[in-house]
Amino acid sequence: METTKNEWAESPLNTNAIDARVSYLTILKKAVVVFLRLLTAFTVFLVAWSLFDPRFAPLTFLDPRALVLASILLAAGAIDLAKGVVPIEITYPLMLAGIVRAMVVGDPSFLLYWFALAIIYLFNVVGGGDMKLLMGMFGLWPHLEFFIVMEIVIIATHLPIVLYRRLQIENLRAQCRMFFAWVRVKLIDLTIGEATPNDFLRQAIAHCPTSEALSQRGDRLAIAFSLAGIIYLVLMTSAGLNWRLRV
């Protein structure tokens, strides 16, 4: 039996046709996903922008914009906990908003924080997603208060984890004793000329994790950074307690 060309094209046995139909569907799906990601990114950017642009009304107590931004930060932390990545739909718009803010307000001080964060990234202390999230937040709030809030939150969240782990592994007191003995030995080395400050720097750099080690053994703690942003919004801005402006 002879089949026409059109029948063959529509036949389920024709794998080429199946591929063609599937690829169209895939492209459509991809287009929808890209559209949704762009929409998300645009929303994040708009919300971040609305915080500093003078054309928008100043923040008020429990301002919806602050609540939305807090939700976005929380979502970034939650996605990181679940998947180990901080989506670029959140990080890039925040960074872009930081740059726009610097131009609108005329305050390029965010560059200092970005520079410090870039160094931290180069030493593999944080992953790229976390770093971009931090860059975005420091772009929006390049203030010392935010830095202090961030420090307090990170110490409050990270230190117990470190202590717990250390206690699980070995006796903490013995570890501390070892550490101080190490410091004493190194100080003696430095005094008698056995070692130079450059040696210490090299050793410190050698203690930094590699990129692979960070990927394999790093902790998913973007939620801590998000938490710092939310606490800052609640404590320091007029959407919350407004401590910064009250005094």
Binding site: A116, L122, V126, G128, D130, E151, H158, G218, V247
Partner: protein
């Protein structure tokens, strides 16, 4: 070097594709602690630098004001320039107060400077931080009123009454701020006969609450209520404007006297222009004051009073027993036999 630079750039360029939300928490903690130490160290150094240069500037301003008593603005500009030049940041908030005061017949120029020490954006955390410096210089040209002498800011702790009384009626009911010019005794009441209950350090800030009837003693609130000899406290309000506070009854002294507490004046009767020697000996005392000024446990001092003067030696024993000895030097006019 160039290769390393490109390597760093290449590593940095990875960040655009890198979405990892991972942290090395121990290194993050170390980084944060290091940054906090660095920041704290820088700020402590900045504060030290500010204090050092403010002291220098105040010294120069005082020396300048002794020669040019009316050039307060120029002295303020000198302080501002020195602070601005040597300490990072602008010094728009430099305050300079200059006043003349008569102490024991000598005319003194007191120059006090204040600069607000600001950590930008942290003013919500640090309440009114400032660096202060004081210089006291003898003024050979005599006590003249300084031009455009600004008033020391007073800190009102209680609400100011809404109705403004006339100048004649004006009596301050609130606390005003004062500064101890030297180390001073805090006594239980307005007089040398009251026991010493505390000490004020030089430059210590106190809240002045009132005065005695003769306006020679001030009631202050350093930690608890006490009285301090008025000439030792610098306030920028007239003493007479303070409210009069009733003196407490004289307390009973501890009966056990010290082993040796001697004060003598030779001679005790002088003509105007003559001098006498005060000699004292207080073994085992914790500290000794002569007319409220710190002196050694044993010593002598030449005094040349021009009017009848009482000298009171106060000695503290075991931090809770206080004893006084007094001697009066009488003056006869030069023409009298």
């Amino acid at each position: 070097m160039r290769r390393r630079f490109f390597h760093v750039l290449k590593n940095l360029s990875n960040v655009w594709r890198d979405e990892r939300g991972t942290v090395s928490i121990e290194m993050a903690l170390v980084t944060l602690i290091l940054s906090a130490v660095l920041f704290g160290g820088v700020e402590i150094m900045r504060y030290g630098l500010l204090r050092y240069h403010l002291d220098r500037a105040t010294y120069h301003a005082a020396r300048y004001l002794v020669l040019n008593p009316n050039a307060t603005d120029a002295a303020r500009a000198m302080v501002r320039a020195e602070v601005e030049h040597n300490v990072l940041g602008n010094a728009d908030n430099v305050q300079l107060y200059a006043k003349s005061a008569r102490r024991e017949g000598r005319c003194l120029l007191i120059v006090e400077t204040r600069v607000r020490y600001e950590i930008e954006e942290l003013n919500w955390l640090l309440v009114d931080p400032s660096a202060e410096s004081v210089q006291v210089w003898p003024q050979p040209s005599g006590c003249r009123e300084l031009a455009a002498r600004p008033q020391l800011p007073t800190r009102t702790l209680t609400p100011t009454p809404t109705s403004i009384p006339t100048l004649a009626q004006r009596v301050r009911l609130d606390l005003i701020e004062g500064v101890a010019m030297v180390n001073a005794n805090i006594r239980l009441g307005p007089g040398f006969e009251y026991a010493i209950v505390g000490r004020l350090a030089e430059k210590e800030v106190v809240q002045v609450r009132g005065r005695d009837e003769t306006a020679t003693w001030l009631q202050v609130l350093p930690e608890r209520i006490g009285w301090v000899y008025a000439p030792l406290i610098q306030i920028d309000e007239p003493v007479s404007s303070l409210q009069i506070v009733a003196a407490p009854p004289l307390p009973l002294r501890t009966p056990a006297p010290p082993a040796r507490l001697l004060l003598d004046a030779v001679p005790k009767v002088l003509k105007v222009g003559e001098c006498a020697w005060l000699r004292w000996d207080t073994a085992d005392a914790d500290f000794v004051t002569l007319n409220e000024k710190d002196v050694a446990l044993q010593g002598e001092q030449k005094v040349c009073p021009t009017v009848d003067t009482k000298y009171v030696l106060s000695a503290s024993y075991d931090q809770d027993r206080f004893f006084d000895r007094e001697v009066k030097i009488m003056i006869y006019p030069a023409g009298d036999p």
